[in-house]
Amino acid sequence: MTPTRKKRLTLVGLIVLGVSAATVVAITALQDNMLFFVTPSDVQAQTLPPDRQIRLGGLVADGTVSRDPDSLAVTFGVTDGAHDVMVSFNGILPDLFREGQGVIAHGHMDESGVFRAHEVLARHDETYMPPEVMRALEKAGHPIEASMPQ
């Protein structure tokens, strides 16, 4: 092997090594930061480990939003038509948060079966419904027509 070839081979080897290392790290990081999407029915069906971070999606159940007048604490029910889960959140809810609307909450289930959210996302657009929520509702047997304008 000529020196040039040897050098090139080492270079290619190093790049391959680096890229594989990056891939391994990437996959590991990916596994650690995966957030599973669950519906209230999923919550009902299986007991999730209490510290597992998940995304809970569904509609804000009518008449369940209750605020504490002295702090930012708020609780509301999330429903997929079949089951409900209570969510507690401490902070400012998004502008488009409303009863009967699609919502996604990030957080975990606590021991008492309440979902502790650290982030609540609502839709961003009048006609937009998070696809997961839409499918969750269909799965639970309560599909809703996406409210089209006009």
Partner: protein, 653 residues
């Protein structure tokens, strides 16, 4: 009437695009001068018809022509005229029209500025871009026609999404599209190069200013999007690793790698095949970005209503364009010359490292963005990938880039010695460490992130300055424009780094309950709420909180965040109050009324240190890209060279 006119011009533009994609290509193939001469007229016609369609749609918006369903959905009688004009690209159909207008504009620019280039080469470039245009015109006419009529039309329209009723929105999409579409030029050059079997070094040099400007526009577009999200979405973040953001960031990363590999190919003739591949990848990723944003396959915080059928169309189009390009690449790659060899320690190696890290970063963002899709498709459940994944990967991948960046420009081509490269940078390194520690201490930012940010940022900035100074001393004429461009852009990287490190480590951020008359303390500032009043705008009314902000008993700002209710769509919008500053931003967003009796509101207060540096750094990078692109060395083509090119220009068999 005007809508039908727009419809007709769109169809005419399609006809011209078809002619453009075929005749000059055939002409270049047969060496037919007459057919190649048609290119310029076709490009002008194509642009004029697209512009006419665009003007027609704008006119429909200005005249409140609600019989067009696109107008009815995105505008109403109360919308001020300037938002009616920007509402043209407020939705899917119109933004596609803007996309195509940009493409037409870039093609016009290529035709105008490439008169010194070989005729058949320009004909091929513009024909390839014509093919891209056909795809998008068909897409528009078949699946998303902005001129669709609904008769009888409603008396009033819906509303432009209030999020988009904002000055930032006027410039963000056009700039972003300028960047996206600009990569079509680099793509066209690469394909034309492959078709013509030309010497890579030549066309790569011609492609450089186009790539640089596209990259600069993309940088500006992404930065503006980040800035817009910061003050408009009311969360106070500057980057969310949202799929839609990633969709624009992946082409940026590939584009950055492309810029640097083009430099090697142009100067030394090395990595020609890699440069071609990156040119194809940059544009493919732009198409993928368009697909991700427009198809709605991804859950995104700023996904808007969309349609899977449209996504499928773009996906197929992308597959055809990329597949054909890669096939051509595979056929022609063996004919691409390999460049001269180089040593371990050389500018080539430095730029190679740059390329490896940037492409790996792009692959990593792509993986994180598409992974949920793959998992869902395989039926393994519905997941999303959290921002910590991207954050961790970026720290890992960008650290070597930051450490090596100042060394790159100091390294000689072909061969160099480590000690020779390090020597002029010893001072920069010392300055970076000392100054970085002193500043962190002075600001009380004693965290690992902040300190690394300052040391790394100053190292990059000092390295850029040291290089510029040495260059200025060694040549009598001073720095050339492209060298100024590089220095500015690299300096901008340092500024950006400091901004990110400070914001990520030192931000004060709290949601709180506050009553009128109450004062809250935040990061050394006292925020006092005086009252919450009712105010009115042209198409909204709002509750406005009136704050004064004090520091050390001196008033620094009066701030009035609002909670707006838009009449027409009934949408609620948070209007953030911002007090920008070089070293910190004050930020107040209103939540909701908690207790009508006491007038208590939930309020989000942020004090964000050095957040402006993030966009300042991006602005410097943009400026650097544009300055570089304007260097005449890319445009000048000496007569002797022209004659030489004429001689070597071969007609492919």
């Amino acid at each position: 009437m005007i809508a039908e006119f727009g419809q007709v011009t769109l169809i005419l533009a399609l006809v011209l695009a078809v002619l453009l994609a075929t005749l000059p290509l055939y002409g270049a193939y047969r060496g037919n001068e007459t057919l190649m001469r048609l290119t310029t007229s076709l490009v002008i016609g194509h642009f004029v018809f697209l512009a006419a369609a665009y003007v027609a749609l704008s006119a429909a918006f200005l005249n409140h022509d609600f019989t067009l369903s696109y107008v009815a959905l995105n505008s109403n009688l109360l919308l001020p005229w300037y938002y009616r004009l920007t509402a043209v690209w407020g939705g899917h159909e119109g933004s596609l029209l803007l996309w195509m207008l940009m493409l037409g504009g870039w093609m016009l620019a290529v035709a105008a500025f490439s008169r010194t280039l070989p005729r058949e080469f320009v004909a091929r470039v513009l024909a390839v871009m014509g093919i891209v245009s056909i795809g998008f015109l068909l897409f528009t006419l078949l699946t998303s026609n902005p001129f669709d009529r609904v008769l009888p039309g409603p008396t009033d329209g819906q509303d432009l999404n209030p999020l988009l009723q904002d000055p930032g929105m006027i410039v963000h999409p056009p700039l972003l599209y300028m960047g996206y579409v600009g990569f079509a030029v680099a793509f066209g050059f690469a394909i034309a190069g492959l078709l013509g079997g030309k010497v890579e070094r030549e066309w790569v040099r011609w492609a450089r200013p186009w790539t640089l400007s596209a990259w600069a526009f993309l940088t500006a577009g992404i930065a503006l999007g980040s800035w817009w999200a910061y003050y408009e979405l009311g969360w106070g973040g500057w980057w969310f690793w949202d799929p839609v953001e990633n969709a624009s960031f992946i082409p940026w990363l590939i584009g950055t790698a492309l810029l640097h590999s083009q430099a090697v190919t142009e100067k030394r003739g090395s990595f020609p095949a890699w440069t071609v591949l990156l040119s194809i990848a940059a544009f493919s990723m732009s198409l993928l970005g368009t697909f991700l944003v427009r198809s709605g396959v991804l859950t995104s915080v700023h996904a808007f209503a969309n349609d899977p059928e449209r996504g499928l169309f773009i996906l197929i189009f992308m597959a055809i364009i990329t597949g054909a390009a890669l096939l051509l690449y595979a056929l022609r790659a063996p004919r691409i010359m390999t460049g001269p060899g180089f040593d371990w320690m050389s500018r080539e190696t430095m730029l190679l490292i740059n390329n490896v890290f940037f492409t790996v970063s792009a692959a990593m963002v792509l993986l994180g963005t598409l992974y949920p899709l793959i998992v869902d498709f395989m039926g393994w459940g519905q997941i999303s990938v959290g921002p910590p994944y991207f954050g961790a990967m970026f720290i890992l991948l960008m650290t070597p880039i930051v450490i090596l960046l100042p060394l790159g420009p100091f390294t000689r081509w072909k061969q160099d010695e480590v000690m020779r490269v390090m020597r002029p940078l010893v001072a920069s390194a010392a300055v970076a460490i000392v100054l970085g520690l002193v500043i962190s201490a002075a600001l009380g930012a004693w965290s690992l992130r902040a300190i690394t940010g300052w040391v790394g940022g100053i190292w990059v900035m000092a390295g850029a300055v040291a290089w510029a100074l040495r260059q200025a001393r060694s040549t009598r004429s001073g720095l050339a424009l492209h060298q100024w461009g590089m220095t500015l852009a690299h300096f901008g990287v340092g500024v950006f780094l400091i901004g990110v490190a400070m914001v990520e480590s030192m931000t004060f951020e709290r949601d709180m309950r506050i009553e009128p008359g109450q004062t809250v303390e935040a990061a050394g500032y006292q925020f006092t709420l005086h009252e919450v009043a009712q105010v009115k705008g042209p198409n909204w009314r709002a509750e406005e909180a009136r704050f004064t902000v004090h520091r050390n008993d001196r008033e620094v700002a009066r701030m009035t965040p609002q909670k707006r209710l838009y009449h027409r769509g009934g949408q609620v919008m948070t209007q953030v109050a911002l007090r920008p500053g070089i070293t910190r931003d004050l930020y107040i967003a209103m939540g909701e009324e908690l207790d009508p009796a006491s007038g208590a509101w939930s309020i989000r207060i942020h004090v964000k240190p050095f957040v402006r540096w993030i966009w300042g750094g991006a602005a410097l990078m943009t400026l650097g890209g544009l300055v570089s692109a304007s260097d005449r060395r890319y445009w000048r083509r000496r007569r002797a060279e022209a004659r030489q090119a004429e001689k070597t220009a071969e007609v492919p068999a």
